[in-house]
Symmetry: C2
Subunit: 157 residues, 2 copies
């Protein structure tokens, strides 16, 4: 399960696998996409990075946050949609299903509460995955998404 | 110049070329993208249609509306961003520059007023391009974008 926390500047990723019935980190980090230049080039960079991850990790599914309302600016909602569109496209090209999770569902899966703070979510992720720290907060968010995605798929099975 | 008015269900397109110093319609219509199914498949359908248009028409540039604030719903802003992201990606793949135009700039280029109504814009487009009617309002919007894109590029030259 590959969690992706998209942004045009930094996209966190976190891949989990199951070992003895417990999720373990396979790989986590931040995709290097060009921070400057034409939007098309930046989206192309994001597409290539996600495409590369899908080739390398061959996840069974991708977890993405499904934001209905963006808290900050409408402009940010459009930018987020642009990055999400590119990820959906890469997923379709690899025939990898996407699990779209509401922010509350991610928090609930990880902490038990849909209203947990960002810090609580990140602390719970470290505990659940048995690691002392995750280098980047975007990667930690992506791992939380991947964890919640596994949780969702197990609930369905 | 290819104008694109994106939506996930219907994306209008309109391509103009210059003849004797006047813009003429090369082709205009609505892209057929799957209305149902997985978002990834729908975005993939949009990408393929835009990719096909770029191969066929080889436009010098693409005109897209640059919405800072979406008038309706934040959800619509994200959906619009997803469709836009796919178009920017297709443009980057073909190395076609994108001219992003604010809605007011499109209205001003076509009617002379940044506050023209949709009906005024569509009537002006028909007059400017010398046609009695345009089959689809999305195609008419795309032609207005293409016209404004030509206007912008001429202004720069």
């Amino acid at each position: 399960m590959l969690g992706l926390d998209p942004g045009l500047r930094r996209t966190g990723y976190g891949a989990l696998f199951m070992e003895d019935g417990r999720p373990r980190i396979r790989e986590a980090g931040v995709l290097a996409t060009p921070a400057r230049g034409d939007l098309g080039r930046r989206l192309q960079g994001l597409f290539r990075e996600v495409d590369g991850l899908l080739r390398e990790l061959r996840p069974a599914a991708i977890s993405l946050e499904d934001l209905f309302v963006h808290r900050e600016f409408p402009r940010a909602a459009i930018a987020l949609g642009q990055a999400q569109g590119v990820i959906w496209l890469a997923a379709a090209a690899h025939r990898v299903p996407v699990v779209a999770l509401a922010p509350g569902a991610v928090k609930r899966a990880v902490t038990g509460s849909g209203r947990a703070s960002k810090a609580q979510v990140q602390a719970a992720v470290r505990t659940l995955l048995g690691v002392r720290r995750v280098a980047d907060p975007h990667a930690a968010d992506a791992l939380a998404l991947a964890y919640a995605g596994l949780h969702r798929l197990r609930g369905r099975a």
